[in-house]
Amino acid sequence: MKRYISYAVILGLVWCFVHGTISFNNFVLGLIFAPFIIRPFKPLYNFKQDFSFGRAIKKIPAQARYFYVLIKEIIKANIIVAKIVLQPKINIKPGIIAVPIRTVTDLGITAIANTITLTPGTLTIDISDDRSVLYVHCIDASDPEAVARSIRNDLERYVLEAFE
């Protein structure tokens, strides 16, 4: 029941944004429609895991810090790749490297993979079968150890705090 309420609030907000006018009536309309959307696609929402409002609220400061770091990294990534595109002669050393990760839940792995794709010079290709190693295409792979270390120490710490 708690799961239904929290997902219904999120879907109501999405309905407001798609409709274009943010008002209380629209929000209530989205709230009424939400259970009919959630029920047929129940396997997609993880109902097995226990859920409490207190823990969700307690994570909000960590998530705010994570989004701040994410925005900073995205802007840095754009400047780096734009510099590479504007070079008169393209001089890069690309390659695919293996990065071991510590996150275990579905949400955590999705968050770390998308974060890696949006940050400077790296792009997630695949995950191994036992879900412990990410394969990352790197635009400057001359030093694989340093790239793996920077991902583990810098980004993954924020993801672990925010989503695990």
Partner: protein
């Protein structure tokens, strides 16, 4: 009041110019870089942030009217879905047999796939 209007106008025009230049650079990288994976880098990162910048500039110009709110929805949707599409295309290209370009120095995914096929 007047000063706020002028500063919002300047800020939104700056966002618009930065976004358009980033989108153009992303499409330029599509031609200049050597193989599939490097092209994914430019379109995923630069193109998406450029589109988000243009949408934010439209929001700054019109405020929270239906056009502005829908522009923010489009920008957030692009920002959320483009890494997923890039990940799927990259994996499909590698399994489809597209090789890395000659400048590449290392490929550990190839080794892992070969090890898995041998077992």
């Amino acid at each position: 009041m007047n000063l706020i209007d002028i500063s919002l106008e300047i800020l939104s025009n700056a966002f618009l110019a930065i976004g358009l230049i980033f989108v153009f650079l992303g499409m330029l990288g599509l031609v200049r870089l050597p193989d599939v994976y490097n092209r994914l880098h430019t379109t995923t990162k630069i193109g998406t942030l450029g589109a988000f910048g243009v949408m934010m500039s439209i929001l700054l110009k019109v405020g929270f009217s239906p056009i502005g709110v829908k522009a923010v929805t489009v920008g957030l949707f692009l920002l959320l879905t483009s890494p997923i599409a890039a990940h799927m295309i990259g994996r499909a290209a590698h399994r489809h047999g597209v090789c890395l370009c000659q400048e590449s120095v290392i490929d550990e995914y190839e080794k892992a796939c070969a090890l898995k096929n041998k077992e």
